[in-house]
Symmetry: C2
């Protein structure tokens, strides 16, 4: 059995940055809070908790110590509330997410009806929506465009981890609804590349493993994308979930991982697959 | 044999307006010039010529009398040249085309690389291009987007008679090339509706007749669209081109027409089909 490893897998720039900021803060201050889990990976959140990072649900849970804003960002109202209460804020919002928030604010100030392409309940999307001063709406896919009212000017931003193809389909569906359509391409390039590479690998193998938190939207999206071209796609959080029967008779197995999956976890999945009872041999995706 | 007539067929608003302006000018002045044929229909151009309208190729062909700018518009340079030479100009440019020219100018003044989606050699597209002050390019379809350089800001307008689906595909292809994409939806609503109705009828019939000038891009596009869903699609300029063998064994025949086709021509095609040797019966498309 041959193992194809995706090159674009694991921590993205924004997650790496958020974890670094959290670790530095914890080293300096000993204790800190995060509003919700810092990243969507239970294993990493567990390690940070041991270092002194406490995830809280809302502002009322915050005790003495700085609050770290996670890479997805928070709503403008919550940020203002924290500041008005004199809470020390360490902002680890991904700069790409920040940019999407700024464009959403700028579009709405310029009189656009703002459409955010993404998952309505995702914290990143909820935070972006909070920066819209006028009218706006979240749209998950082209079918959602039917709910958008006809307007002279529609402005669009996307959740940074959206799939490029779906984003384009929404844009196409919005075109007949307005005279002016302004789109900020807020897709994270690394995420797009990761999705394209994962699809390419999934087409070349007999079985695909996607590693990452089950609460990670971008990991779930990777698994969903891969399963479109490779029905034998499995989403696992750690190597312990791998089952020998998945790989019986398989000649090539692909591995990719979400943006919040630590490299250590990915390596353990790979190492498990090249050992007994799996006994694969490694190959980097760059050789594809 | 049953005949299905498209409701949206024949002169569009812009063409009707241009012909009215020309006729009024000729009644008042007895003689006038048009730069190129006033509309892309040889029969109408012939009638207007009898009334005193002379189509000329360039400014040097213009004699004494006003120059009528046809519905497709002309380049900014040519308009300035006419004005600087003191030629009397009667502007019959379609207001929708004028709007596309203005948006192209506005985008380029605001620092956008301007993409015009349309046919490079069409006079409307050449006129729109002349309003771009900075960089720009004509793109005929999504494959053409490959030639566009990566830019921070790309602005897009379309030739008014482009097909909505193709326009959307170009937009999708431009999305990864820039951070900000601003699109003015300059598609003529009537043309889009006409194309959609023609496609709907073509799917319902055994044979489709598209009436209009062979030099009319929008008529050719209608015929091309219909032939995608109905291989027995025939493009005719007048009823004289109809051939009985096209209709042998056909139960339902559809008729549509381009934006520069006079209602009289369409009626003569319809009347021919309901008479010998064709002997169809009429039905309006609204009853579909």
């Amino acid at each position: 059995m041959e193992i194809l490893m995706a090159k674009e897998a694991g921590f993205c720039f924004g997650v790496k940055r958020a974890v670094n900021i959290a670790e530095r803060t914890l080293r300096e201050r000993g204790r800190a809070f995060s509003l919700g889990p810092l990243i969507h990976n239970p294993q990493v959140v567990g390690q940070l908790r041991e270092m002194g990072l406490e995830p809280v649900e809302g502002i009322e849970g915050v005790g003495r110590g700085p609050v770290i804003i996670r890479s997805h960002g928070v709503s403008r109202q919550l940020l203002e509330e924290l500041e008005s209460k004199g809470v020390e804020v360490v902002d680890a919002t991904c700069p790409y997410v920040k940019r999407a928030q700024r464009w959403a604010a700028s579009l709405s100030r310029r009189g656009y009806f703002v459409v955010v392409v993404g998952e309505e309940e995702h914290p990143e999307v909820r935070a972006i929506m909070s920066y819209i001063e006028g009218d706006g709406m979240v749209v998950e896919g082209p079918e959602g465009a039917g709910r958008i009212p006809r307007r002279r000017k529609i402005g669009v931003v996307a959740q940074t981890t959206q799939e490029r193809g779906r984003f384009g389909e929404v844009i196409k569906a919005l075109l007949p609804l307005c005279e002016e359509l302004t789109i900020y391409n807020t897709l994270c390039e690394v995420t797009s590349k990761r999705q394209e590479e994962a699809l390419r690998i999934a087409r070349e193998v007999d079985c695909m493993i996607v590693v990452g938190g089950r609460n990670s939207a971008n990991t779930r999206r990777l698994a969903e994308l891969c399963s479109r071209v490779q029905p034998r796609t499995y989403h696992v959080e750690t190597e312990e979930e791998l089952r020998p029967e998945w790989f019986r008779g398989m000649r090539r197995v692909g591995i990719t991982a979400g943006a919040s999956t630590p490299i250590g976890t990915i390596r353990r999945v790979r190492d498990a697959l090249v050992s007994r009872p799996f006994c694969g041999i490694r190959r980097e995706a760059e050789n594809l």
